[in-house]
């Protein structure tokens, strides 16, 4: 069969298109970004009016997708794992309201923190919300599971969580595609009170969810993505899920594992299969990417029952991404290792691009703060977080989207002065605006630098929802017009920018300074496009 080479992310997007979605909703976040971008670039999606513009944040994305589901159509919402924190409120409650049109929530975890501030495991959220979870082990499964997930969602009127990890998202392989199916027609929910979570209704809906949870377990027992493969050597059984399955098989070139293997791709985990393994095997090795979710479940709090091996007893490392070697060692197989890295090796951390506007902003800010004690700059998540590193060392925090403004306010409340917040334009509209309102209402003495490069740069230059609106938003939130400044972060305006920052630091209220200059990568991309189009016209 003809196969198409797709990234895991792209396989999910193609799966969603072929399963008949009417919209995809997301805020960019590595490693999930390419799912939505694939739909945005798809001719089929355009022809079929599949909605795909970016949302302001993961919460608005989740809620909009829920609204599309309410209206009877299939929707997908995508985010990185920490985005699910932002969307947690609607996500958890959507399990209570239930879905109407099929609804899949994709959350991309980042074990080993390649581009993230933690390695939280989205499966914990799925269990918390009590929704079914799907976790593919390869690109083909990722594609097939989307179709399956929408059917499961529509069968039980429940959102389905789709959990992937970085390697799954960003690894490419051949995928066999199905013919696309049509989108749903608009159709009201059967029960028009189902989405009204007043306590009296929520109580009824929650009982509904508890009842359905038993059905989800029955679905897991017959799921094509949960398989029990017998093996002769029962000194140990191997319970493996998601991508970790590939690392297991890598250690057996003939793909024959001597031990019984339970491969899990659908949660809640299939109880009978786990019981079979527990009955037949002397011990169970749990190999899972991320937190020891299943391992903890099997082990129990006291760990006095079954003999369970995995991340908790040191058979596998407690943190970080798995790989074939770690699994080999856990199986008692010989490890392999190449040559040592020579001693002269040094790190090559990512850095701000040469010509980046943030550099000029940091140089001006550093000059103003020079002479004061260090540690006054609260910042946020974006390319500018690299300003924490040498040679700038200009910022002192990066916690979650939007935390710069609110943390600065808290520090100002504590009496710290002067206090600065540094946030990007896209992060500001994601989660900074509400914090700015708090600061305005308290007339907090903080100076907020909104670095406006007109794009969501770090994830590859997606549209920024606030482009052209930043100063109007600030005015609307009540920042005094005389304390809103738009400056040009360029060397030739350095003295002027230093003067403005200095003046505003002295102002005992909320000031907003907007250093505005387009991201140089975005300019480069725009010029290439322009050049390409001109070429096309010539041809």
């Amino acid at each position: 069969m003809q196969k198409t080479l797709l990234l895991g992310d792209e396989a999910i997007a193609q799966g969603a298109l072929d399963a008949g979605i009417s919209g995809i909703y997301a805020y960019p976040g590595t490693p999930s970004t390419e799912i939505t971008e694939f739909v945005q670039n798809s001719k089929y999606a355009k022809e079929n009016n599949v909605h795909s513009t970016w949302s302001a944040n993961e919460k608005t994305a989740m809620e909009t997708a829920l609204g599309m589901s309410y209206a009877g159509k299939r929707a997908m919402v995508c985010m990185k794992h920490v985005g699910l924190n932002v969307a947690a409120d609607p996500f958890i409650n959507s399990a209570i309201t239930g879905a109407n049109g099929g609804l899949i929530v994709v959350s991309a975890d980042d074990p080993s923190m390649h581009s993230s501030q933690n390695e939280q495991d989205s499966r914990v959220y799925g269990k918390f919300a009590m929704v079914p979870i799907l976790e593919p082990s390869n690109q083909q499964e990722a594609y097939d599971m989307v179709h399956y997930g929408f059917d499961l969602s529509e069968k039980y009127h429940i959102p389905v969580l789709f959990r992937i990890t970085t390697r799954m998202a960003h690894s490419r392989s051949g995928v066999a595609l199905k013919p696309p199916r049509a989108q749903n027609e608009n159709r009201m929910p059967d029960d028009l009170r189902q989405f009204v979570l007043l306590p009296s209704i929520a109580k009824r809906r929650y009982k509904n969810l508890l009842r359905d949870h038993t059905a989800f377990m029955e679905e897991s027992a017959v799921s094509p993505f949960n398989t029990y493969m017998d093996g002769q050597d029962r000194s140990k059984g191997i319970l493996v899920c998601g991508l970790a399955y590939n690392y297991l098989m890598e250690n057996f070139p003939d793909r024959k594992v001597p031990h019984p293997v339970l491969k899990i791709g659908q949660y809640p985990i299939p109880r009978k299969m786990v019981e079979k393994m527990a009955d037949e095997c002397a011990e169970i090795l749990v190999v899972e990417e991320g937190y020891p979710v299943i391992e903890e479940l099997l082990k129990g709090y006291l760990g006095r029952g079954l003999k369970i091996r995995g991340r908790l007893d040191g058979t596998l490392p407690r943190d970080g991404e798995l790989n074939p070697n770690l699994v080999a060692v856990a199986l008692g197989l010989p490890d392999t290792m190449g040559l040592a890295v020579p001693n002269l090796m040094v790190g090559r951390p990512p850095s701000l691009c040469s010509g980046c506007p943030h550099i000029d902003s940091f140089l001006a800010l550093n000059e103003v703060l020079n002479g004061l004690s260090r540690g006054r700059v609260f910042s946020d998540i974006g390319c500018y977080t690299l300003g924490a590193l040498k040679p700038y060392e200009a910022i002192n925090s990066c916690v979650d989207m939007g935390a710069s403004i609110t943390m600065a306010k808290g520090a100002a409340d504590a009496g710290m002065a002067p206090v600065v917040a540094v946030i990007g334009d896209s992060t500001f509209t994601h989660s900074g605006m509400t914090g700015l309102l708090d600061a305005v209402n308290d007339k907090s003495p903080i100076t907020v630098l909104i670095l406006d490069n007109g794009t969501t740069a770090m994830t590859g230059g997606q549209d920024s929802p606030g482009t052209g609106k930043i100063e109007e938003i600030c005015k609307g939130l009540g920042v005094e017009e005389s304390h809103i400044h738009i400056v040009r972060p360029l060397k030739k305006y350095h003295e002027e920018n230093v003067r403005i920052i200095k003046e505003e630091l002295a102002y005992p209220g909320v000031s907003v300074i907007i250093p505005r200059r387009e991201c140089i990568v975005a300019i480069d991309k725009r010029m290439r496009e322009k050049f390409k189009n001109q070429q096309t016209v010539k041809e």
Binding site: L5, S115, S171, T336, G338
Partner: protein, 193 residues
């Protein structure tokens, strides 16, 4: 046939193009392929690597195990050394000797090249100079690919066809320059094996 290849470089140097060309050639021969890439923050001038696995049999892991890579292909000398733990005892390192120096503590280039020359099976070449000589100064990555080509166990014509396919949209001139770069790299490797 199976080839496990670590592609290394600095963000923006073009390792993804090399992966795409080898990948296309492999798929045209009906091989299986898995390729894991780095996206996101690491691209901002940081070190980047990609795991490219091609095989006539189905591939399990997206990641190449340590100590089992058949090749490390690096567009940057220091980066070729970063991934040595992946190299199998019989594996080859094909490395550019032209440094990409965007860090304050970059080691002496002579020492870096000396370390590359300690590796039992290696091809070290100034791909930027060769690219320039061959008239395609922007194609250092393709020169490196050419130098790696004798170890790919695949007919050279298959790679040429993949280059035609990859750069076809950019016109005959670009295709021609890249084919020259590929040949120049190949020639260097053949003279230095």
């Amino acid at each position: 046939m199976k080839k496990d290849i670590i592609l290394a470089g600095v963000g923006g140097q073009g390792i993804i193009s090399i992966a795409a060309i080898i990948g296309y050639a492999a798929l045209e021969q009906g091989m299986f392929l898995k390729q894991s890439e780095i996206h996101g923050m690491s691209q901002r001038g940081g070190d980047v690597m990609s795991n490219l696995r091609i095989s006539h049999h189905e591939i399990a892991s997206d990641l190449i195990p340590f100590g089992q890579a058949d090749m490390i292909i690096s567009i940057e000398p220091l980066e070729s050394l970063r991934y040595l733990p992946y190299l199998s005892p019989a594996g080859w390192v094909i490395a550019n000797t032209r440094p990409f120096n965007n860090i304050p503590d970059y080691p002496e280039i002579e020492q870096v090249v000396a370390e590359i020359e300690k590796i039992p099976h290696h091809i070290a070449l100034d791909a930027d100079a060769i690219a320039k000589e061959s008239g395609s100064p922007k194609a250092a990555n393709i020169v490196i690919l050419g130098a790696a080509s004798p170890f790919l166990d695949m007919a050279f014509e298959k790679l040429e066809a993949a280059i035609r396919h990859t750069f076809g949209k950019k016109g005959e001139t670009v295709v021609g320059l890249n084919l020259q770069a590929l040949k120049a790299g190949r020639l260097f490797a053949e003279q230095h094996i």
